[in-house]
Symmetry: C2
Subunit: 730 residues, 2 copies
Amino acid sequence: MMTTQSLILCVPAFGVLGLIYTFFKSSWVAKQDPGTEKMQGIAKSIQQGAMAFLHAEYKILSIFVISVAVLLAVSGANNEASHPLVAVSFVVGALCSGLAGFIGMKVATKANVRTTNAARDGLGKALEIAFSGGSVMGLGVVGLGVLGLGGLFAIFSSVFGIDTVENVTLVMTIVTGFSFGASSIALFARVGGGIYTKAADVGADLVGKVEAGIPEDHPLNPATIADNVGDNVGDVAGMGADLFESYVGSIIGTMVLGAVFMTAPEMSENFNGLGAVLLPLVLAAVGIVTSIIGGMFVKVKDGGNPQTALNIGEFGSALILLVLTWFIIGWMLPAEWSDGARTYTASGVFIAILIGLAAGLGIGKVTEHYTGTHTKPVMGIVRQSVTGSATNIIAGLGVGMMSTAIPIVILAAGILGAHHFAGLYGIAIAAVGMLSNTGIQLAVDAYGPISDNAGGIAEMSELPKEVRQRTDKLDAVGNTTAAIGKGFAIGSAALTALALFAAFKTSYEQTHGTTLSIEITDPRVMAALLFGGMMPFLFSALSMGAVGRAAMSMIEEVRRQFHEIPALRKALDAMTRNEGKEQSEWSDQDRADFEAAEGKAEYSKCVEISTKAAIREMVKPGLLAVATPVAFGFIGGGQMLGGLLAGVTVCGVLMALFQSNAGGAWDNAKKMMEEGIEVNGEKLVKGSAAHKAGVVGDTVGDPLKDTSGPSLNILLKLMSVVALVIAPLI
Amino acid sequence: MMTTQSLILCVPAFGVLGLIYTFFKSSWVAKQDPGTEKMQGIAKSIQQGAMAFLHAEYKILSIFVISVAVLLAVSGANNEASHPLVAVSFVVGALCSGLAGFIGMKVATKANVRTTNAARDGLGKALEIAFSGGSVMGLGVVGLGVLGLGGLFAIFSSVFGIDTVENVTLVMTIVTGFSFGASSIALFARVGGGIYTKAADVGADLVGKVEAGIPEDHPLNPATIADNVGDNVGDVAGMGADLFESYVGSIIGTMVLGAVFMTAPEMSENFNGLGAVLLPLVLAAVGIVTSIIGGMFVKVKDGGNPQTALNIGEFGSALILLVLTWFIIGWMLPAEWSDGARTYTASGVFIAILIGLAAGLGIGKVTEHYTGTHTKPVMGIVRQSVTGSATNIIAGLGVGMMSTAIPIVILAAGILGAHHFAGLYGIAIAAVGMLSNTGIQLAVDAYGPISDNAGGIAEMSELPKEVRQRTDKLDAVGNTTAAIGKGFAIGSAALTALALFAAFKTSYEQTHGTTLSIEITDPRVMAALLFGGMMPFLFSALSMGAVGRAAMSMIEEVRRQFHEIPALRKALDAMTRNEGKEQSEWSDQDRADFEAAEGKAEYSKCVEISTKAAIREMVKPGLLAVATPVAFGFIGGGQMLGGLLAGVTVCGVLMALFQSNAGGAWDNAKKMMEEGIEVNGEKLVKGSAAHKAGVVGDTVGDPLKDTSGPSLNILLKLMSVVALVIAPLI
């Protein structure tokens, strides 16, 4: 039988394993052929832009991290219930999150051009490169999460001991700083990345496509590099930080709740009573191995179906993990135990995990129904596009609102079910269940923007059309899996927030020695609940406003370049004169003008504008999210803080579902019209009035689904984790 | 000194006074000159359409009312804590609400054409008629409210006695049925009216204005009568029922909470301890008198400012009422008393009322800031319209979300303040304070659609332009006051819902003899909270979908008429041929074609379509709102029902603010561009690209601000009142 000590040391080793895998995969990607000189040049611009953004972002964040760390150290030193070492965990959490983003982005900006190059020959190799790039992000996130969290737990448990509830509570109090650090970075990365990507996207589209009439990703558009950088900083680094936070948060929340069981006599047989505390860490560690195994199945021959490959990888990994989970639970937990108030069973814990998985899958399926192509709700938007932009928008808003209903029913049923089978611990471990497969899930998620970028590079390098078609095909197949991933992200965010909320209450009660009753009809709780509910609205308004302002600066810059750079102006004039003609039919002068403009657009200016705007605009919402729970906690006490958290959680989940799904539905409604779809006997195609209405809807949906919506996932977790960290202090 | 008995009998007498005033005012309106035969014909069509809708609506509602009444009677007879007479109160409440809507609509459809006719000569008389029409609605609502509620209380208190807490609790249990009846009718009226008005409006605009290019309210447009009917059924009857519900709900909630004080020894001196129970009724009764007095000040000479007249009337009335309130509280309540847990003071109650008024005013002012013309947020939307519909929509959504922040802070502060000074009773009486001025407030609110209708009639009757200008001026001045009215409506809905929520808890505890602890971290409460929060999203999605479907039927009907009625087709062709020319420059044939089309449009078909669609579509959301709290209460018990109510209240208030304000802001952004506004040196005018983007925004905002947004006010009150009614049964 394994000792507790060796198990605790084993966990970080799995994290190291994940990182070794990451290292090998990224070296393999780097060794692939990056293609022609032109392709390499473009890829280099994207990579430089992405790194410049990370550099600027991390500079600001380091000031934030150091300030908060000092505050945590000082308040920890002055309060018996806390500890100054919380600051160390916080810094390590922030570093791990930042490093995960850096690794993911670094490899994504290498994998993109190599995917393009591989797509010149066929689909199989291209899929392999794109997915390998995604795997690096995925395994990087889980590897750093398990190593960081497991490592801190191992160190602090050997320093302070873990033989009593008091010891473990202290260790957990210190370790929660890790989650706080991860959450802070995640929030800024999501908001900053979201603003960056949409400012560049909207700016590029509105002036480039609409005003100047040049196609997407065309090298003449000065904002086009910024647009592709945006895909990386928003969809790769932003999403990586987001899932890193959920992953870490759900594990820590479960550990805190597991510590309550330590005094149960039945528990002490198992790892000194620590079985329930260590279980989420062990599950996460094993998830790394199954993600690696699942990744090996993602292969496709030319002519094969990449969707099947992704499905086999993801669901295969989940299935193996589920079987292993059954045995791990049997090994780590007693068959039955009691905390005095109720009886728990090992099989109950397993069922809670199953419920978590089923809920995530269910929400994902509903997401797909409301946002996928050719589904009834999205067809409804297409149909309403015939009468113009206004009806398209109304229909999309309606779909978004409607799409909240079933996921909330699933969530509510999941909460009730998990609680029925395993109490509050069950709710927390259900979130862990949803997330233990994060390694491969995130690999699939990150594979999407890499393929997207590959397509952009193909376009900008003016490669033959079939290359772009192949990358489009790669991009498209990831959509279903991505929708399910979104369901897991929102569902796990909600459960993680609840787990952290319960952990906050537990920690407050343990450190204060009193019961914390958060009675909903208490007017102070009700006032806090209203305020908390308002936060996601305010937060969304701030981030949408930020996108609007940043896009405006971008538009002005692109207009300026079209106006002031003579070569660009001449090329645009040539394009206008020859509209609808093939380039071979142009006059020699026009063709010469057009070719002379190559490389004349000042891409770096646009990159700089997006970077500056994103950095500037992420500060206000970020500070708001951190400062509000602190203010409520210290002024209003545990009850008002509890009310605040409940309000943020409820409205945050709803607004996240509403905004993400409305945006997704508009996006696919537009895509359906671009592919050509028949409505009432009329064929809607690209360029039709209905399609133009669809473009309006898609543009409206962009900041909703890529900036404000996903930021809310983090908002609710971050505020709960702040509450957990300050629980001993208020 | 007055006896309790005579005071109880006095209250309904004030209600009768209000109704007598209503009778005289409406006779006066009816005596005014209705203008030319053509005007009368149009007005008659509108009146017939409105009455046809009410008829159809009430037919369906009577089935609903009878079914619910039977259920209430049966369950009341089988449960000791309830009483079969609840059914009687329910029916009376439904009848009063229905009657208030009927009276208001009847006079509004008379006042509209008479206002048009008076506007042919000048502003003063037109204002008087329009405002008198509004007064009938306003005083009708408060008169029926006070008479119905006061009358029921007088009857049941003499039957069951009111000398013990048990007696009063029973009487209040029975009387709450009145509020339930009022709420049910309100919900159907608001939803049905909202669907009607927007289906007609969107339908008329999209085919009429956009496709066929004919101006608003033009007699050639078959949907134009339906559009004007819609203003009446939505803005007059719908709003009247809405405020009737708030008015009654806040009074009943306060009465239930006041009954808790009856055993306090200091209370028994005052009206047998009933002082706190009767206070809200007496305040409402006195508010009738001050509304009548305030109404007398609403006069304007030609050249005078109608806005000033409305302000003097409304604020004058509020001020007199406030002074009287001070004395009434001193008369009815002891200077200080205790319920065992805390001490209350008469001055604390007065301050709570002041806080309610200040909060209502504050929310109104914020509403004006976010939705008024020439304010910074609305100018932001105008500026974003230059880059097209998409940025206009994003900006409007942002403004709507942002606009929730300060009102919520005001509400939260109001809740904390009112509770600080007078406990839960303080929160409830703050809502009564907001609403005791309802008589004149509603008069001003209803004056708006009457002026709007008057303008429509002027247009359809092809009266000289200055008539329309005068009615437009009347319409515009009501806007500020209407914005403040909206603030009161949302603020009072929130406070009323909280009062009813607290009353539900009190009633549950009294009838069950246990404490009801609704602990937010209890997973059952959390699940219910999530579900409750989702309801406003689902409800909005249903009503928006309903508007979309109904508008589609309308569009098809208008297209059919343009296609199948030869006279209409010829007239449209003539208009197209002579676009931009004055009618005098047309060829004789064209002019003849145009005149031949007069009266050929089949208005009644469009009226019928709107009516049928509204009736059909209001059923699902209506039943959902009534059935959900019943299901939660009986299956999940008091705790889950409590969680549900909290979720609905929080998200309902937020979504109502978001939707109403976004809609209002888009509306005024469009209006500013129609008036002509300079942005970055460019003048935006009617017909410009920016204005077209503004029209899209306005169309999107229409169902948000006139259908789904206002319906939520009722949803949250209705669900709370259902909870209160079933509290003894679950």
